[in-house]
Symmetry: C2
Subunit: 273 residues, 2 copies
């Protein structure tokens, strides 16, 4: 656990994937006003579902942006790139010293189950964790007309806890807040990523020249009846907090893979789990 050094105000970088002008990141900054020294570095435009994309074939630019919280202005830059680009540029170039904590959000819509992989909000936090900086991703489970105040209050509580106690190395927290009024949220549940997937189709249309094009569409289906999942926690009125890591090795698969047929074909392995 690596809590921030006491004595000075912690440096907190805010990022998101909805873009620097989205209401969620302004609500987050307002909610965290006074918790530490705030900085905002986020994509200039919406970057939903970019996953962990980074920009390697083009340069990126950063533009200073006016950004206010109740106590005054916050240094803020819009970046012509992805959420992961924004965190990299902030940590390596724009902020000196780098931040003590990165908070990504508040996303409009949940980032649960397999959506963790598609989410730009989570990828900003994952990038911070790769760079060795504690990080949280925060999403509000409401696509339509989100009210961010309650999610902001929970963000502040969890951020204060993370600043005081630090996070395990290489682990970030993926927070999903149900779209419920204050008195209907039952508390926080530590959860795992649910097994779920999109039952997808494509909406096939033809353009005026009669050429086909396809819109991704689909229904999200929970395939997991565990009570300890992110989806279940939200359904039951809890704020879901899932610890996430960027080591994607399927450790449980080694036994299944080395059950005989693998060894016969390719020889044994000296891997020890």
């Amino acid at each position: 656990m690596s809590a921030s050094s006491s004595g000075t105000a912690p440096r907190i970088l805010l990022c998101n994937d909805d873009g620097i002008h989205a209401p969620g990141i302004h609500s987050l900054a307002t909610a965290l006003d006074g918790v530490g020294e705030l900085f905002v570095v986020a994509p200039t435009t919406e970057q939903s579902a970019v996953g962990h994309a980074i920009t390697v074939r083009d340069p990126v630019r950063a533009h200073s942006v006016a950004f206010e919280v109740p106590s005054g202005p916050v240094p803020a830059w819009g970046v012509t790139g992805t959420p992961a680009d924004s965190v990299k540029l902030a940590c390596h170039e724009l902020l000196d010293p780098p931040p003590d904590l990165v908070v990504s959000g508040i996303n409009q819509g949940p980032n649960t189950a397999v959506n963790v992989l598609y989410s730009g909000t989570v990828s900003a936090a994952t990038e911070a964790s790769i760079l060795g900086v504690d990080a949280l991703a925060i999403s509000l489970c409401d696509w339509s007309e989100p009210q961010f105040e309650e999610a902001g209050r929970w963000s502040r509580r969890i951020v204060e806890w993370a600043l005081e106690h630090g996070l395990p190395r290489g682990v970030l927290l993926n927070v999903n807040v149900p779209a419920l009024p204050e008195d209907e949220i039952k508390g926080i549940a530590l959860t795992r990523q649910a097994r779920a997937r999109w039952e997808e189709g494509f909406d096939r249309r033809t353009d005026p020249a009669d050429r086909p094009y396809y819109w991704l569409s689909g229904t999200f289906v929970n395939l997991d009846d565990g009570q300890e999942t992110d989806l279940s926690a939200i359904e039951r009125g809890y704020v879901s907090v899932t610890p996430i890591q960027h080591d994607m090795t399927a450790y449980d698969a080694f036994d299944a893979l080395t059950d005989g047929s693998w060894d016969e074909s390719f020889g044994g392995t000296d891997f020890e789990t």
Copy 2:
């Protein structure tokens, strides 16, 4: 384990992130000629480092592309989207029935350690695995003038094994082949993702109007001295095969998080690992 149904030729979908015209996917198709019924659905243009991006705000299009292997033409489509888009569109729209196996590659350059998260090659295989289709990602550890023949031979061996035995549910194989001649490759090692990171900087330049822009640059640093990692295997002359899952939950973190301070602040958790 879900091996493909015997009796009929397995349907094998090829994808990549270097684009449908890249030499690596042609070498892969040639290497797999005769193993099953081949199909190619891959991005029209290079999509390196797009991670698990999907296209949700725009439609995608698919164009039929001429694609030949020694035994004859292969049905092939170029997609105006990401690798994950290509796999989704192939499985839901272009191929009926969907494929028995997805093979993504052969990528020009390694996809090891944390690069798994940035890689479009791996994300195509991950997407297949999310959709319930067995999948492999194959990369050749050579950025400069890759010779894909040897990597093609290893691809064929591993694909044949996967078709016969199937993969554990939700697990894909991330294969990295060292850039060595046939007689210098020692065999296959089952590995885990190494702990490593990019020691990055940005190359700050100014345009003719004196405005700054930034090129991402950096050196890849292995922070992991384990012998059982993907990086170590390649260094020692082995083909590295890492089982990968898309559940990013940090199960080991639950104990650290619930060591007392979490419970005091937020109450206990009924999570059972």
